[in-house]
Every structure is written in C-alpha cells, then in structure tokens.
Symmetry: C2
Subunit: 515 residues, 2 copies
Amino acid sequence: MSEEKGGRRRTRSGGREARRALRQQRTVTFLPYITRKFPVTEVLSDEGLEIIENNAETILEEIGIDFREDAEALELWRGAGADVQGERVHIPRGLARSLMATAPAQFIQHARNPERSVQIGGDATVFAPVYGPPFIRSLDEGRRYATIEDFRNFVKLAYMTPAMHHSGGTVCEPVDIPVNKRHYDMVYSHIRYSDKPFMGSVTDPSRAEDSVAMVKLVFGDDFVDQNCVLINLINANSPMVWDATMLGALKVYARNNQGTVISPFILAGAMSPVTVAGTLAQLLAEAMSGMAFAQLVRPGAPVVFGTFASSISMQSGAPTFGTPEPTLVLFAAAQLARRLGVPFRSGGSLCGSKVPDAQAAYESAQTLLPTLLAGVNFVLHAAGWLEGGLASSYEKFVMDADQIGMMQVVGGGIDLSENGQAMDAIREVGPGTHYLGCAHTQANFQTAFYRSSIADNNSVEQWEADGSLDAVQRANALWKQMLADYQAPDLDPAIDEALQSFIAEKKAGMPDAFA
Amino acid sequence: MSEEKGGRRRTRSGGREARRALRQQRTVTFLPYITRKFPVTEVLSDEGLEIIENNAETILEEIGIDFREDAEALELWRGAGADVQGERVHIPRGLARSLMATAPAQFIQHARNPERSVQIGGDATVFAPVYGPPFIRSLDEGRRYATIEDFRNFVKLAYMTPAMHHSGGTVCEPVDIPVNKRHYDMVYSHIRYSDKPFMGSVTDPSRAEDSVAMVKLVFGDDFVDQNCVLINLINANSPMVWDATMLGALKVYARNNQGTVISPFILAGAMSPVTVAGTLAQLLAEAMSGMAFAQLVRPGAPVVFGTFASSISMQSGAPTFGTPEPTLVLFAAAQLARRLGVPFRSGGSLCGSKVPDAQAAYESAQTLLPTLLAGVNFVLHAAGWLEGGLASSYEKFVMDADQIGMMQVVGGGIDLSENGQAMDAIREVGPGTHYLGCAHTQANFQTAFYRSSIADNNSVEQWEADGSLDAVQRANALWKQMLADYQAPDLDPAIDEALQSFIAEKKAGMPDAFA
C-alpha cells in the first residue's frame, strides 16, 4: 500500500489538453483534500474511551457477531482462533484488535487524474456526495424516482464543486435501469463524467467483481492489485450481523486490495441502545469485527472504520438527524478510530427534512461541522442528502457544496505569516478610520474571505429589488448554470471504448432484473 | 465578587406559589446554564497565541487606543503609567495585562429568582437572546419597526425557552417609545415578564445610572454593590476607539460593581484587517484596553472579554455571517480570553439572510456550534437574530431556541453510567433483532433523545398530509402557542409599585426625545 500519490498513468496530447485546461480554468476550480491544521475536538477522556473499548470486547467475546450464509467467513474466523457457534462468531478479547495490526493507518485512493487522488486517513478530510437515494427532489419537479440522467447530473455537479474531493458512489439510484445492470452505468458515469476517485458496487459480489474489472481497464491490472482505486461501502446489519451480500462484496474488494468502509448503519433506539455510550460500544464491536475480517481475507487490505449513526424519534420511530446525541457519537467514534489506528468515515450533511428549508440546513450544518472538527477522514453524504437519505436534492447539493467550501477554509486554520498578521495594515490605518482602502486590503481583498455561492448579503431593499428570493430559489439557478457550464474531463478513447465493450458484452449476457 | 449563588431575597406566599409552580410545570421548563463536560476546541498553538499577544501589545504601546471626550479616562490612564498623547493612550507592554489581574476569572450574575442566577466564566455557557434590532420580522407581518409590545413578546419567549438562560437586553428596539425613555420600559419588562438575569442600558451614562437605580429597587442597595445583577454591553468603536457614551456607561457600571462585556464590534475588512490573525491582534488590544480601564475605575469589577467579529463581502461591502474566517476568529479569541483569565463573550445564531430560510439556518448553526465548542461563556444573539442584526424574527427565535436546546445536550457530554453503557440492553437484544421493546429502551425512551420542537421527521406522505409545511411555517405556529401559554412569574407587588413609581417620576421629569 503506497502512501504517495501515484504518477501519471496515461499520456495526453499536449495542444488539445492545454486548450481544454485553459477552458476549464474559467469554470472549474479543484481543491485538494483538506489537511486539517489544528487538533481535533474530543468529547471523551482516555478513561471513558477505555470503558467503551472494554464493552466492545465484551460484546465481541461474550455476545458475538453473526456472519451469515458465508461458510468461508466462518472458516476464516475459526482459523484465527474465534469460537464459532453456528453462524455466531465469538471473538476472544483482543483478537480483533490484534488482527487489525496489518490494516494501514492511511492510504491513497488513486483517481484516474493523479491530481485528484486523495489521502484517506491521518489529518485528511475527503468529501464525497450523497449515497443511496432512490428519489430526487428539485424545485422544478418536486419529488420523483431518480434516473441515470440524474445520476450523471450529480456526478457532473460533484465534478464542478471545488471542495468535493470525490465522485462518490450511488449518488442516486438510477431506477430506470434494470437492477442487475445499473452498476455498469454507474461506474462508467463516474469514470466518464469525472476524473475524481469513486466507489464500486456492493449490491452483489458479482457486481463488485464487475467494478474491479472496469477499473482494471482504466488503471491496469497490476496497478489495481497494488493500489487502492476503489473505495466501497460495506454496511453492517446492526445489531451485530454481517449478511452474505455485504460479506461477499467485502471479500471481493479486500482480495483485490481495494478499500472497504466497514460501516455499522445505526439508528440508535432501534438498531442500538438508546444511549450514546451503548451505541458506541456496539458500533465499535461491529466495525472491529468487519475490519478484522477484511484483514483475514487479505492482510494489509485498506479498511476504514465507518459509522453512520443517527437516532430515531421515540414518539414516531422516524429517523432524526442533526440532533445532539449523534453528534456526540460522531466525536467519540472518531476518537475510537484513532486509537485503533485506522481511517474513519462518518458525518456529512444529513437531515430529515423533506425540503431544503431551515430544518434541512440546521441539521446539515450540525452534522457537517462536527464532521470536520472530529477529524473524519472520509465523508459520504457531504452534499445533496435530503429526507433522511431517501432523496438526492439538486438545490440541497449546491447549498451543501457551498458549506463544504467553508469547511475547507476552516480546516486550513489561521495564517500566521507576516501578511496574515497584517501589522502593517494596523499601523497604516490607526484608530478611528477604516481598512477599506489600505494597501494590505487592496493586496488581499480578492482572496481574503470565503465567497459564498448561495448567500445573499445585500440590503433588504436590494434583496427585494432582486425578487426576494430565498436560498433554495438561488440554488435552483446555480445548479442549472453549473450543468450548463459543465465540460467533461478528457478520457482516453481507447479506455472509453474498452469500457463500453465490456459493458455491452456483460449486459447482453444476462436478462434484465428489476428486483 | 461572590462565585456562589445568592440566597433567596424575598419570601413568597406558599399556597399560591405552589399552585403557580404546578401550573408552570405544564408549560415551562428551565435548564441551568450549560456546564461543558469536555475540552474546548482550539485552533491556535501556544506559539501562535504568543504571536497574536505580542502584536496586541505592540498595538497598545506603539499605535495606541483613543479614549475620546473623557478627561477622567485619560487621567486614570496617566496615573496608571500610560503615555497619553491628546486622546490617544499608549499603554506600555504588559501594563494592560497586569491591570487585569484584579478582574475575576468568573462571577455569578444574580437573577431576581435565585434559581435563574448564572455563572459567567469557567466551563459555563449562558445563552441570551438577540440584542439590538430596530425591526421585527414575522411570517404574518413581514418586516416592520419594532414596538414595546414586540419587546415584551421576546422577553416572554426567552422566559419560556428552556435553554435560554438569560433575558438579554435590547431584544428589539421599541421605537414607539421616545429614545430617552425607552430604557425604563425595557428594564422594567425584563424584571416584570421574566425572572432570568438581564442587561442594563448603555446608550447614555444617565440611562446606565437609571438601570442601576432600578435593580437596586429589586435587589437592595447593598446587594447590588457587592454582587453583579446587571451585565452590560460596551462596544468599542473599532478600530481602536472608545467613545464618550460607551466610556460613560462603562464607568457607571464598573463603579457599581456591575458586569461589563467589553466588546470590539468588528466587521473584518472594514474595521480590522482582512486577515484572521490581524483581526485577532486588534480585537485583543481593544478588549484589553477596555477591560484594564474598567479595573482602573474599580479594581475587581467583573468584566467579560467580548468580541463580535464577522467579515464583509469584499464585493459589496455587506456584512457576512456564518463564514469560515469569523469561525476561526471565534475559536482563537476564546483561547486568548482564557489566557487572560477572564470570561469570554462571542458567537450566537448570526446570519445575513433576510428571511429564516436555509441560508439563515446554515449561517446560524455555523456560528452557534463553534460558540459552544470554543467555550464561549456569555452568548448574546443566541436566538432571534436575522438580517445581520437589523431584525428580530419571531420564527427565527423559536427555531434558534430549538438549536440552543440541542447545544445544551451536546455540552453535557456522554453519560458513562451503567445505564448509559447499556450493556444489559445489548445482552438482552443480541444479534439480528432490535431494541424497540427491550427493557432498557422502555426505561429510557422518554428522555433518551433530544426532542426537537421544530423538526418534522415524518414520512413524506405524512408530511404532505399535514400540509407540506416548512420549518418557518411550523415555527410560526409555535411562537404563537408559546405566547398564548405564557404566564408571568410572580413579582412582589411592593417592588413592582416602586419600579412603576420610579419610572413615572423619571418620565414626567423630561420631555420626549426621538433622536
């Protein structure tokens, strides 16, 4: 596993490339992943963390974790020294942690454009779009099922968003394509319409194999075997179950040395206890069992401690987001991941609101800022998430995109250079005047402050003259403009053709399935 | 200065009181100020902080601070060893910091109901409402000038908000009352319609004197001289100017041993350099000069290091809120205050939006969570702020009130009790089932998770059946219900009569003024 960014893997024709680069400068800015410049926020003491860790070991040993419908998994655990009773694996205290010794502390996920490769782990934070919604919502169309055109649109919007470091995975579920074939179009769209790193399919082991086969066409077989070019979301079936689909996909990716995000998906109160400390112990046990299993499959395979932890309304049972208990879980789980020495995935711009209103924004911001301050390394759902993850929202996507741009600035910390200290400006201006025209302001004004793409800061009179638009209405105009401005990154025609042939052959070889 | 909560200062009639307490239990919950249970977030290293502190001392000594139209202030500074040139006070390195040695590290602001007294400083965070807007906005009426009825309404809403620990000051500007008389009605409203601590007038030294006279009628002369019962907002005229009005009010409150929040009001780029580090050095110098001055007036007078620091749009000059640079200023300024050993005021639920939309919510949350995590002790504008502080919004007030309730839970940290650890629940449930009906869930479900007063977490079908309301529409119904449910806390009729007589006499003694 390399921690250096890979070199270029294909050559480009100079003149055409240069012209394209020039064109793109006009419309697209790319920011590298965030390298946080100040310490993380921590909510638990070492003593508190040890209590949680001890409880997790008790869960692993005494209660056990189910590895279902996967004889190979049970065999691997038996060989490692676990006590396997039926499908329940009792993992002796300390075994999971010791198996994880081979997991890399951080790794590079390579993009087909090496400038977009990202570090997963350490002080890095990588933002990726919303994952999973079957619906879309827009101001124009309301709510409807998502299509492959929506999928492409969200890939394009992610590509155009400076602080979106990753193209993500299932940015929405393209339900207009048969369920057994849509992964081809999804993986292809990430490759064709973006040059940022992306995610593979996990809905069936064969689809994971297809995802690996496709990236081999882009990166070459050897490169893929030695480097992470796909990162893949493996959800636990909480409480304390790994199912055959997820185990199958996990094994495919681990064997191919590709990254897996081992994520308990928890709505506390239903899938974990109603308390923060109880939820933490359970999710730690689940994540450790999955990450240790990946190391059994291929020692050294890159894994990420993932957690999606929210809570439910105890009145209605509905999932809730942006509330205080999940915030505490997020901060503490990040601490637990650091003590395990592996990268951490959580957070995003989560909300339960049906529309991109104040509820959506409060909840999203109350998830996103903790995400940065906790030191989350890989952030799914950083933009576009609406309605508890049931809908990908066009307007919410660009509003969240603005917020992650702000997180990038916060994460950069305070510039203490001489220009940052600005003592010359203070001396020049002196008491009782203003800084608007001073030399230091003139030299810095273009880059001095983050410029929001969504906020309207004008006077109320000007705002009324402009039509009294709210943030959603402005967002509606923005995403349309972005899609109109979109220009696809270059893709080697030979690679494109190889991908299209592969897909056509595979699709022709199986009947359509819709469930 | 006492750090203990004061005893009860008036007796109450038992039966009537008991009945009222019972009634109020149905509608009003009171939470004590937040005592944060985990370490603060810090963005600057000690080395970085020393650079800022060194620059602030350079500003104080070399550039100097103007103390305008106040011969007494200049005399006090001369006596302390400063180099006074005209109205410009050059404060030798280290002098301001050494003068601040007499300032208390923390203090209690007493409320007329001792159960509502608050600690200012240490690990405490106290939320107070929006301060200053001349306009109000509501969904029903849009935007219009505020009146004394609005003022009373916001006092009542603050009283009814569990996590609002303080009644604040100018919750809106009651422009229907002559400018030279409205402070009587404002201070009276805080006393009459709430029993939480509140703020005095600073718009003229005589109004500060009136504020002190009124609280003496409530608390008694001796108690007021020995305890803080008023906290008062003293804004610098940045850059580096204290004007006569603010100095006059500061002197009245300091002489009376009442708290002053010494607050540079900075829109970076206009009133300070366009950089974070430059802004920090200037605001530290300004705050230190004001706090040291208060100690010259009365050593031991309680002071709070305040800062209101946002930035401007370098394109339009408009103030901006919830952006990343002010977030960094907030975190670092809190660190500087801790190193000075005084309480810190900053943050709130700030936004530039004209309406309580997603922009307002993103910006507010991006200010409020840093406020908690930075360890801000006294938080003005915690609810109701809209349009860059030009409008107090009814809907925004209750939406923000929900958010500060969440901050109270986050600040409380993680419960590591046996019940919190919930190992019995995990043992009882085991792999592959759910926690909805288990004994631990049943025992805890009523208090397990924060219950939002604003969020709608229902299914989209249910939400549509309920009228497809957005957060603002739900907030509109909530504040009206709160005002309908409001019941005034008891006030000793003798005190009430004394206050009303005082006000009537004072008002009769001066003609109305409107500017």
